[in-house]
Symmetry: C2
DNA sequence: AGATATGCTGAGATTCGTTCTCAACAAGCG
DNA sequence: CGCTTGTTGAGAACGAATCTCAGCATATCT
């Protein structure tokens, strides 16, 4: 078997834990800073590696913030899904979107495109933040 | 009115023209290189500024490539729309997506979110590239 | 438990895209 | 034509992400 030989290190666990605690999406740098603030001596490179690994393994979702940062979120829902993110507090909901999947496939096919992939994310202001800002 | 006093410079026009000629999405750097190759002495910073201006004015659409680059495209369709991009050659189609708009609003509302904005982009392989790669 | 091989770690350097600085310049206006 | 002021462009500065590589820790073997 070509099973990738992965080791369990406390660093990886720390990243996983910190990610799980975060409410919404966090950047690698924020996560690194958080961990350092908690007294960890973890390195930035390691946080990047751990996040990349988690993302690849489906344990985390990644998306890019408008200013070019990669942001990550601990991701419970299995398989393909989308997000609804509060642009103020970062609160995140995971969404299923059958309608959108179908639409993507159909529109792609109509234009002769294959291997359709898609990026679908919603941004808004959650109830709590709206109340607070009002 | 607080109309921003904008001037018309040949540089801005050059960027607009180069952008219009490009088939799909191009990065600021690519555009800058293209212009330099054509003999222009335009500066990189100016290309960035011009693109930001065009994007803000709705004359260009911007999106981020997976590797963190901002890419731009001359945008003819007025108002809100989405894109179907060939991930090989960059060919781009502009899309309307009433279904998706409605879905976004509905789902957002269901979760108590307001001021829903959304990012929806499709990536695939266009007919030509599929033929070439086959 | 102890020895060992190899994947993992982390500080810092590096790469690369983007933005900033600032002096020189030119568009638009009277 | 001359002035005012936004614009330009070269290079510096910045920031995110990746790479390097020697030291270390984990899983495994004995």
């Amino acid at each position: 078997m070509t099973a990738a030989p992965k080791r369990n290190t406390w660093q990886r666990e720390a990243v996983r834990a910190a990610l799980a605690e975060a409410r919404g999406f966090v950047s690698a740098q924020e996560l690194h800073q958080t961990l350092r603030d908690q007294g960890s001596t973890i390195g930035l490179a390691t946080v990047y590696r751990a996040l990349a690994g988690l993302a690849e393994g489906g344990e985390a979702d990644s998306l890019q913030s408008p200013d070019g940062e990669n942001r990550f979120r601990s991701c419970s829902m299995q398989g393909h899904h989308h997000h609804l993110v509060c642009r103020i507090c970062g609160e995140t909901r995971e969404l299923e979107a059958r309608v959108v999947e179908e639409w993507a496939q159909r529109v792609g096919a109509e234009h002769g495109f294959t291997e359709i992939d898609h990026v679908v994310d919603l941004y808004g202001v959650c109830e709590r933040c709206r109340a607070r800002a009002a």
